[in-house]
Symmetry: C2
Subunit: 341 residues, 2 copies
Amino acid sequence: MSYDHRVDSLPRVKMADVARTAGVSVATVSKVVNGRYGVSQRTLERVQEVIADLGYEASLGARSLRSYRTNVLGILVAEFEPFSAELLKGAGTAVTATGYELLAYSGGGGSAEVGWERRYLSRLSGTLIDGAIIVTPTVVEARPGVPVVAVDPHAGPTGLPTVDSDNLAGAVLATRHLLELGHRRIAFLGGRPDLASARLRDQGFRSAMADAGVPVDETLVGMGDYRRGASQEPARALLDRPDRPTAVFAANDLSALAVLDVAQALGLEVPEDLSVIGFDNVPESALSSPPLTTVAQPLQAMGAAALHLLVDLIAGTDVQTHRRLPTELVPRASTARPRQG
Amino acid sequence: MSYDHRVDSLPRVKMADVARTAGVSVATVSKVVNGRYGVSQRTLERVQEVIADLGYEASLGARSLRSYRTNVLGILVAEFEPFSAELLKGAGTAVTATGYELLAYSGGGGSAEVGWERRYLSRLSGTLIDGAIIVTPTVVEARPGVPVVAVDPHAGPTGLPTVDSDNLAGAVLATRHLLELGHRRIAFLGGRPDLASARLRDQGFRSAMADAGVPVDETLVGMGDYRRGASQEPARALLDRPDRPTAVFAANDLSALAVLDVAQALGLEVPEDLSVIGFDNVPESALSSPPLTTVAQPLQAMGAAALHLLVDLIAGTDVQTHRRLPTELVPRASTARPRQG
DNA sequence: CTGAAAGCGCTAACAT
DNA sequence: ATGTTAGCGCTTTCAG
């Protein structure tokens, strides 16, 4: 039963091979593979034996072309960065009990490729996957071909079932933390204003400042883009000036890390000369020096919630189509009282 | 050009739709999509316009069934846990420049499902992907159907091109660190002996101990299984005794975290009563309290290396088929001098 | 209970 | 330059 005599890579064993070896037709093998009725016990056993012998496994591509059920769920991301990696861990844990398998898909292009959501979905849906989780989509299709759940969509909750966290409350938490430490000159390094989460964090910042009766200095409000590299420039604009702030609230951890980079380049001590707080609590935030104070989104729980929502959606169960999870302050070493509070 | 009038999920637009709308045959559309020669400028533009209009995207499943080139690379993992998530980040970063897209696949079953490597590979190879990275495979096929790179294979480097890190040197590093702090009663919590990495870490431990002239107490050598939950039991056996060790070297971070769990349950202070060191440097190791001293494998670099190796392999470039990356000590707060050194 | 045949969406000869 | 045709590996009627 060995094929070692082949010199090069041996071709996949396909259903026809199983059929020929077992002396039955491919139709019968298909029935066995899919557990359909109408196969005698004898034939069943014989075919299963051959399948095991040959190590046959159905091709996902071919199978999905014919039957519109694959038992595979997709999770579509622009890029495998820390944020989506955490969601993936959560979804991966949650999928275990469901009997589905998980396929994570990403082009290399990052969010630079606009419209990746639709492209990836078209590529996979209708064929390879029974449903999809789309992570931080910018454009959401109103009616995709398969059940879809959006995680933290940039436009905020729309027609699609959505999982996100309480960005507004989280931003208030962050700002209050700085205020309570005694900071008054507080800068905000925001994200792109076309993103709902960025707008909400901006709004939370302003609301907490207003509640404390501290006016917002608009020259201390910068615009990053949630990425570490591209946020250095606006971070520098905030810090490289004589009347620099004593604290910065960055709209996500990656831009907070950019602030840390810039502070170091300028010779500023954190938290002595400057307090920095981020948002997300990606694992990387704990690895910086100093470790970053941040607001945690329950990323893994969000991934798990999205997966369960998707499974329910496919099953046709009546489900709530919007889950908002709470945020939480995670104090670490990048924030402290200002030097002369 | 809006389709909002459709009440329910609209069916995928397929190549035939494009052909009909553009007034050409599917063959011509296929040529346009794949950039083949033999299409007039006029037709080309017309078809591209329709494609854009309709938002057509070729189905990966159907395409891959016919042409044995998909421009998609697979990364197959038993489970999306911290270790493979880091590799995925590295591979994701590396794929950007290559023009390939990345598909990560995992059943929910964890490594409990034996033979997942072969199953997933059969499912995807020959059809959906042009090549695969398999993470910590236990059984490696001698001649898979597509180019394959193994990352940290449990059997050690075999016939397959492999990427791993220097487990032996890393284990020596960890053990020496404890010895230099003044520890002599050092326990080792190993992994399953059928894993090459586990054997090498065991070997490095013993070799460093021997070099220091410190005999290994065999009752202080336990066997975990690289997972946090299942390692609690053997960790407890090591610690819950009057002559407990002053330090534990756990063969990976997850089992080191299990040691931390057990230490806490037993009321032991780390590092005052017990020093603990792990292996891997997954992000989670920095998040524990106290943060875990560990030996870093350059996980993201390994993911990137695997991806580049795979791309070269597919291109037929002459490549080195084995990359071993260095390990490094990462001192954090879970190790210190023993109480009475 | 089993097999022959059609066809999923697409690509690749081969005609025209 | 374009269209016709024949499958890729599988599932699914529908006959036998």
